[in-house]
Symmetry: C3
């Protein structure tokens, strides 16, 4: 029986990126639907669960994607609400690559720093990738400083994450260089996940952060958020700091994405959210 | 040469249900088009008939679907009008599962009751599934009572069916319990295909219908139209009446759907409408 | 690794014609996107180039199609602008079959007439197919008469073509029979690519064109542009003139289309425009 992946993308055009990865992960048949909304997915999900018999439902799965992560979260929730008891299929959410990118960044950091008990800073932590990276760092037992230009928004993000994981999270204001420098004091890890084109850490600030061991910049368009990190940097050690750019993290991200797609077909009840995708990435490190 | 099924769906999103069944029926390549209209299908049909040579056209076929049966009928007609003499491909119409569901219900009834000369009642017979079930019962030689809350609409439906098959059809008004009970007098078979959430036959009325041998309720959402029938009932005999719910009929429906899709590729001139699909279902019973 | 063709079609529904040809050309996975615009293709192209590694990019390609050739040209340009250095995939443009049809017509003419130094007339040369046929005739060294009802538009088309190929092109006004007859004086080849339903050359005019050796009419809907040519004519010689209709050229067109699609996967940097597609067709003649 052929494996079927139903791609529910919130953009008008379903992502070619996600389509290529699905094909390369070995999916036999890919049903790509653009313009997915919480309102329209119910009948699509019912089509996925009411055709094949329950023992065969593990051969069908759903992938939620698109550039708008918040929209994807709503579709992800709507998909799960459309299931009927045992009539369900596995579902993965990775809008804008948010889950796989955050997982890859934290797994890469973990290779260089024992995260438990360490201090980790996430800049741009109110965005979808930043928030997920903060969640995973907390999960690993790090003391996570959740950075945003607005300390109120940072605090909201801490609360949101605390609703999902039991961790140590504190909001930090990073509106100006002093705020960022304070946030970096004593930190071993920094992950920059801020908006495109905004430099958050200068070379000078980086040099002053003497406890820093890993600096990861997830921006894919220059100028990057951390001066001195290149997009293609992959575990490049300079001045005692191991550096990663978006492309440097990309290989790990792609492996996680591919592995998670394959995992979808192991059973018919997988829910691949941030943590589940991270655990899949973790299993690849072994 | 790969088999290609062109799915023309009148809904914005092409049905995942129909896509899965097509894959499981062994279609090699499925071209799914949502938002099909009579106006836009001509060039799509031309694309299907003007590429491969005439001897290979049996490897391409068209499936018309979507939740709106009337819209599907218009697309089904437009598809056939776009053919050019021998340049044509086989086409099947099953919007909202209307043809396969009606065929499955009547074939199931036929297992328990010799239909020819018997009295059969269809409740909700003005809807797409009900109308098709009435047509097929007439085709089998039953005296068909075509039920609707409005006797005028029931009469219109009788006329519409009489334009297609030569049978014995009479309109019955089922606006109130007395009307329904009168309709059931002397009937061996009842098929309920009414609107969601409306109970048409109470347990008491069912008990009073002493000639009844089969009761089929095609509603997929409770409360069903016949009290005492469960959605999962499949040939369950209680108080002398064999009962079927929507899921109980579903297996037969799915087999007919799959067989009809396969039959599309036997030749390049099949037109799988209500009766043709019923005949395919009939051949599976042998 | 599976071959992937990303079909970017400017029509709301991606062409079924192009889909069937892609399947029959052996494409493993076809990603069909309707409604493609220059604005929306960038992220789709990025999805195609940023997933597989550079050595594997030759297994992915892009096809630009749709009924509107001008819209297709803009998308074709936008696709190429979205590439990043070596991160690119091969791309073919054949909106409305314009490139493959023009190539087939000129290759067919060439079988019967040595084009270099001969006089060739294109009627309806300001349209997308006519303009491409004129370009290819000029490339072959013919003295090309570029015909249009408006001599100003004909002159604009000559200039446009001269910007791409180094050839001998002259505008001719074909608003009335005298203009057409003058254009045909001394011509060996005529290709009619005018609007549907307009007869440009009467049987009498054709007889008077005593130097004419090949007459090709690309109109697919009668009445055709050249009286006495039938749609199905394929190298039919009558009164000393070899005749082709649209269907007569269709076999060659289809072979070029199929061969070009296969060629897309030879490397990751092919740009299959009018001339490149013609060269592919030429290689099939050998």
């Amino acid at each position: 029986m052929k494996s079927i992946l139903v791609q529910l993308d919130t953009d008008p055009q379903p992502s070619v990126f996600d389509r290529v990865v699905a094909v390369d992960a070995g999916v036999d048949q890919l049903f790509s639907h653009g313009g997915a909304t919480p309102e329209t997915v119910e009948s699509l999900v019912h089509g996925a669960i009411f055709t094949r018999g329950i023992p065969d439902l593990s051969r069908t799965a759903i992938f939620v994607g698109g550039s708008d992560v918040a929209a994807g979260e709503h579709v992800f929730a709507a998909v799960q609400q459309a299931f009927f008891g045992p009539m369900r299929v596995s579902v993965m959410m990775d809008s804008n690559g948010s889950n796989t990118t955050a997982a890859a960044a934290v797994l890469r950091a973990r290779r260089h720093v024992p995260l438990a008990g360490s201090v980790a800073v996430v800049l741009g932590a109110t965005g979808p990738v930043g928030q997920r990276a903060a969640e995973l760092l907390a999960l690993e037992g790090a003391h996570v400083r959740v950075g945003s230009r607005s300390v109120e928004r940072a605090a909201e993000t801490c609360e949101a994450i605390a609703g999902r994981v039991d961790g140590d999270l504190s909001p930090v204001a990073t509106a100006d260089p002093d705020g960022v420098s304070t946030a970096l004091e004593g930190a071993s890890t920094v992950i920059a996940a801020g908006a495109t084109g905004v430099q958050l850490i200068s070379a000078e600030m980086l040099k002053a952060a003497t406890d820093l061991e890993v600096a990861i910049d997830l921006n894919a368009v220059p100028p990057l958020g951390i001066e001195g990190v290149e997009m293609t940097d992959k575990a490049v050690e300079t001045d005692g700091v191991v550096r990663y750019g978006a492309i440097g993290v990309g290989g790990t991200k792609m492996k996680i994405h591919t592995a998670a797609l394959k995992r979808l077909f192991d059973a018919n009840d997988g829910v691949l959210d941030t943590e589940a995708i991270y655990r899949i990435g973790e299993s690849l490190e072994a």
